[in-house]
Symmetry: D3
Subunit: 165 residues, 6 copies
């Protein structure tokens, strides 16, 4: 599971933005997910509201998409990337909601952080919109599912790994 | 665990920023945490680097603090708040790193989202800085530990709840 | 209709952010509106989509609320304000959609620009989401309807003024 | 006037950022305009100030250029684009000021929203700088004049269309 | 010249945003300056342009004012502050231009960084607008001139200190 | 030392973002430096803290890198650029700290402003973190050392030029 060195640290250990200028500009895509676990009554309220108006889930989905565009502003050593697609889907599961985010770019570095950031901020937005009902909600399972493109090529999460936070 | 209604939805179900202008300006504080679970070799590399230079953990801590200040820009219906303190601590646990974020404000609404956002972005930054070694890291256990101040008063997470994502 | 001097210009004519530090911190509110006129088929498509999913109107409403929080970042001489409420409503009219934005703050200066910015960005978002169908849509009628609070007190737009862009 | 479907809505009606990764990177340009109608005394004051110092109009022009760069941050489903030119011109007309904004990019999607956003924010800035004199000013006539480049090619606003808000 | 400890470091040496919640909300002001030294021909071109159009100096002044509002976004441990005034003045001196920035707030912490950031960004903007003529320009003399308010009270730069970068 | 015209001013003298769309996309790099001069006790405290924890210098380095990404947001007429590398180094000199920033891009315009902005904000951050000890610190010597790429090609600062602010 562990591969190369900590590439953000230069020879003296100082954090710097990795030089990607020699990398080829290729099509890259990443998909990440996250989950919000919550009390059954909270989930019911969100889903009922969603059935009628779509607002909790719709707001979280937009927040995730907009966050994908802010990734380089949030993560200190991320490169700014002109992403060409961002899609966020939110679906109910037994104990809450699962968020899946897919981001695509034609660029010199991948969009794993954009997908993970989109998923995280969508989860935070769900928390924000339902916290008046349920402060004990928990966000977890934020992980990369798959990435394609770039020198390291295709990566897919090894096992189905169904445990959630 | 479930309390009031979904306060971000108005009578027609449309999402809107809740009016807090009638609330008193009081001292409020919130503490949240999050965890990044990772392969043992990844944790060792981060801690070794940290012992020598402090950069992975130091960078994540700063990213979390700066993210607390961006909360209202990320979470669509959050109120902008002039936070008076933001503290992020990162410590190793068995299978990774745990991030604890505390935010304080004197204002008309609480800083739960600021603390949760700080914890989330610190975790994402850890992922970013170590992902060359370990793409399978997982972020979880993002949850509110405690909040004080405001009309709803003191809230503390019910049980110790030690499971992590 | 014309009142005082151009207060953003100092004695030498240079643009500067007006000093409001001597003003009292009072409750202030402003309401503004804007309209997007469009082909009947465009309006029908938006409303049909809205009836089913709520997304064009829901997205524009959120964009307007989030833009209210960015006003001081967009308008060079606006003061940053911790707004306590932002509400954006969008309703169909004969030839398109009308956006109404209300913003509230307890502060040293008013929120007219926040309300106008929210209305403008909601209109731009409607344009963005429907432009594949209808590039000839036009945004107009962006104007302040009412403001309360502050030294200049209550102001309401003189006549009903029903003409639109 | 009405063409294709509402391309921001996916098959389930959820708003998402359209995938443009398969589009060719071509030169694209868009021109948009907007107007601020105002009392004659307000226009005179602005023009007199402008003749002497250039500040109201100069400030609005810069605000428009800077806003073009923030478009993807303001409009939820806009793609971030590394624009290669932004020009904002402001000229007096009978009842106020007309703003014309032109934006250019070499990219996978057009810059209509960047031009419209630049025009809108320049108009809002004019309002901000003159509102102490004239709160009844109205912003209107925000519309696309022309776009070139991309698969949909050249589009020019059909009729001269001289009515303003 | 040296006073207290490095207050941004907590007991373990980790950087954190200092807690100012116990401080009183008082009126505070800070003034800072900076200089851009340049070739005589560059200064002449700027001043000639300025006499006629005002744009280099006008643009730099606005950039400084807008940067004051972004200070907490730029400086990791700065508190966000709702500044009540920002004024930037630019005047020619023998070998270039001197920028003076004054910022005011009613808040729990001072605005030294806001004034210094405004001066720095105004200088950078002057460089940007004239760099096609003169890449060897140098920015220097960025320093606090005076601050008032807060527990530490009035501070004025000890000696006239006329040397510049 | 003085070369071409003030290229940000169009034929009428109005400030506009220069059109770079006809320029070739080439590899470009720029290096800039800046210095913070301070009392010996301040420098000792920073270096001692740095030896133990690395935080003042580490924080300033990150602030510089993040600022490079915000350049187009700060400098009104700068083009947004997807930078491919940003490196900030900070070293002690006799009377303080010297910051060196290098930025790289493959793009249509250079990254001089990104390097200068990174150096400036790193210096401001050093000031912020040490100002409780020493308000009289001064930032100076902010200047371009070298640039490569683009039509104007290689430029290197003429003389060693060791004077500092």
């Amino acid at each position: 599971m562990a591969g190369g060195p900590l590439t953000h640290l230069d020879e003296t250990g100082a954090a710097n933005m990795v030089d990607v200028s020699a990398k080829a500009e290729t099509a890259r895509e990443a998909t990440a997910e996250g989950r919000v676990s919550m009390a059954p009554a909270t989930l019911s309220a969100i889903l009922a509201g969603d059935a009628a108006k779509g607002d909790v889930i719709g707001t979280a989905r937009l927040a995730g998409i907009m966050a994908a565009k802010k990734t380089a502003d949030l993560i200190p050593l991320c490169h700014p990337l002109p992403i060409s697609k961002a899609k966020v889907e939110i679906a109910p599961v037994d104990d809450g909601l699962v968020v899946t985010a897919t981001v695509r770019v034609t660029g010199r570095t991948g969009v794993e952080m954009e997908a993970l950031t989109a998923a995280s901020v969508a989860c935070l937005t769900i928390y924000d919109m339902a916290k008046a009902m349920d402060k004990a909600m928990e966000i977890g399972g934020i992980r990369l599912l798959e990435k394609t493109g770039g020198k390291s090529g295709h990566w897919r999460r090894p096992e189905p790994d169904t445990d959630i936070a």
